[in-house]
Amino acid sequence: MKAALAHWRALAASALALGSAGGWLGAAEPQAPPQLQEETVQLKEAPGRELTAGRCNICHSLEYIPSNAPAMNRGVWQKEIQKMKDRFGAPITDEEAKQILDYLDGSYSGKS
């Protein structure tokens, strides 16, 4: 998870460098940037949590997982992981996909 966050920060920093007028955050804006606030999102403790958090977190913050739980079962999670892998290019091996599916189905199927 730490590695993914570092990866994200590097991307955010490069996005910041792209903007010529102060980058991502203007100097006068007081609030914490969303990519720092989001560290408050914690997933349930269970085997596969670190792998799941680390992979999902590359592209999006983690509250997508608990907020979607009421709509999910094993089959829908399977499709979702497949979509992230095949359509969105998430760097997830087949073996990792299986572990992530077990974690998400076990902790976030039909529950909030």
Partner: protein, 394 residues
């Protein structure tokens, strides 16, 4: 949240039209977590990254939704802050005779300005209220707002580039980008006829101010009557093309079963099974009182809310306090334009104590009415079913 709503429905014996809304205090905490994006008031946080923030019900009561309370919706997480002085808009494509590049100054000083008041609503607004639940950002009712948009007519920009007679679609790209290079960029297209509609704008102002960063600065597309997915933010490229655009966000995402919904058809993108979501459905929102509110017996009490459609305009709003057996007309307020929402008011009878379930149904000038039942679709779009708030007179 669904459980709670089901309980409320069960408590009414299931006789209500539509759905009782759980908008009162004490709703599920994850549904009401407020957070601030820089430059925005606290909004309902659906996700931090990409940022998806919903306008709270109280902020939807105003005629124009304030810029710092307007909802924020992104698919991709890399959102550069753009320097207006270095921003450029490329207009090109296989059906453009004279490709051109415009600066913001070119856009603002080279074309006649145009304004439209229009509702911007996410196709998935209210997805979180679907039964059964469907995956996606679990929006409540605030992935929408009404604003006065000012910019230039898209058709004049396209005409400057020269539109070939074989033009079929116009394709729009923005500056927001994915984290992973393999993730499809958020590119959308419109049928050329809709792109040429006089109401379709390249807008740089919202409610008299420059567009907020989180709503597409320095310029975005405004497609009145069509769902928000077409209102490309941070617009950087426009391509006039003779072929149907085949990107992920057109061919796979933002689609509904063919024939399931009324509204204009996007025929160059349609298949036998699915078709792009296009126009808004006739709809309404009760902004006050909120479900669960207590009204004092015999005291003056008024229902207030909004009704809108895809641009035919609102013909009327009806209110039922007897579970849908009889309906009476609410009073429509000032008309801000056919693409805007229309405020309505209705005096509630508080003479007898007890539970008061109030249902609201809008009808469009084209004859369409809000339905009682949800039309199922896998992505949870177009929820416009009749809304009921449950009040208590005591």
């Amino acid at each position: 949240m669904a459980t709670r709503r089901e309980l409320l429905l069960a408590a009414t014996g299931g006789c209500l039209i539509g759905r009782v809304w759980a908008t009162d205090a004490g709703a599920a905490p994850e549904a009401e977590a407020l957070a601030s994006l820089p430059g925005k008031r606290p909004l309902i946080r659906r996700s931090f990254r990409p940022p998806n923030f919903e306008t709270p019900l109280a902020e939807l009561a105003a005629g124009f939704t304030s810029n710092d309370a307007f909802f924020v919706r992104y698919h991709l997480s890399v959102i550069p802050r753009i320097d207006p002085a270095s921003w450029r808009l490329e207009v090109s494509g296989a059906s453009a005779h004279r490709p051109l590049t415009l600066s913001l100054k070119d856009l603002q000083s080279g074309f006649e300005h145009a304004e439209v008041v229009a509702v911007n609503q996410c196709a998935g607004n209210r997805r979180g209220l679907f039964t059964p639940r469907v995956p996606g950002v679990q929006w409540g009712s605030g992935a929408m707002g009404n604003a006065r948009w000012r910019g230039v007519r898209l058709r004049e920009v396209l005409q400057r580039a020269g539109i070939a007679s074989d033009a079929l679609e116009v394709v729009f790209g923005g500056a927001d980008a994915p984290v992973m290079p393999a993730t499809p960029a958020f590119v959308k297209s419109l049928p050329v006829e809709r792109a040429l509609d006089e109401n379709t704008l390249v807008a740089f102002e919202m409610n008299g101010r420059p567009l907020p960063h989180w709503n597409g600065a320095p310029a975005r597309l405004v497609v009145p009557g069509w769902v928000g997915t077409y209102w490309t933010k941070h617009l950087t490229s426009i391509r006039i093309e003779p072929r149907a655009f085949d990107g992920f966000w057109m061919k796979t995402a933002y689609r509904v079963p063919t024939g399931a919904f009324p509204g204009v058809r996007f025929t160059s993108q349609e298949t036998a099974e699915t078709t792009p979501v296009t126009e808004l459905m006739v709809n309404s929102l009760i902004t006050s009182p909120v479900s669960g509110a207590r009204l004092r017996r015999s005291a003056h009490a008024e229902l207030a809310g909004k009704a809108w459609d895809a641009g035919a305009g609102i013909e009327g709003v009806e209110v039922s306090v007897d579970g849908g057996r009889s309906w009476r007309d609410a009073t429509l307020q000032r008309d801000l334009g056919r693409f805007a929402w229309r405020d309505f008011r209705f005096v509630l009878d508080t003479s007898s104590a007890g539970r008061l379930d109030v249902a609201v149904r809008a009808r469009s000038r084209n004859g369409a009415k809000q339905p009682d039942k949800l039309t199922p679709n896998p992505s949870g779009y177009h929820d416009n079913i009749v809304q009921t708030v449950s009040l208590e007179v005591a």
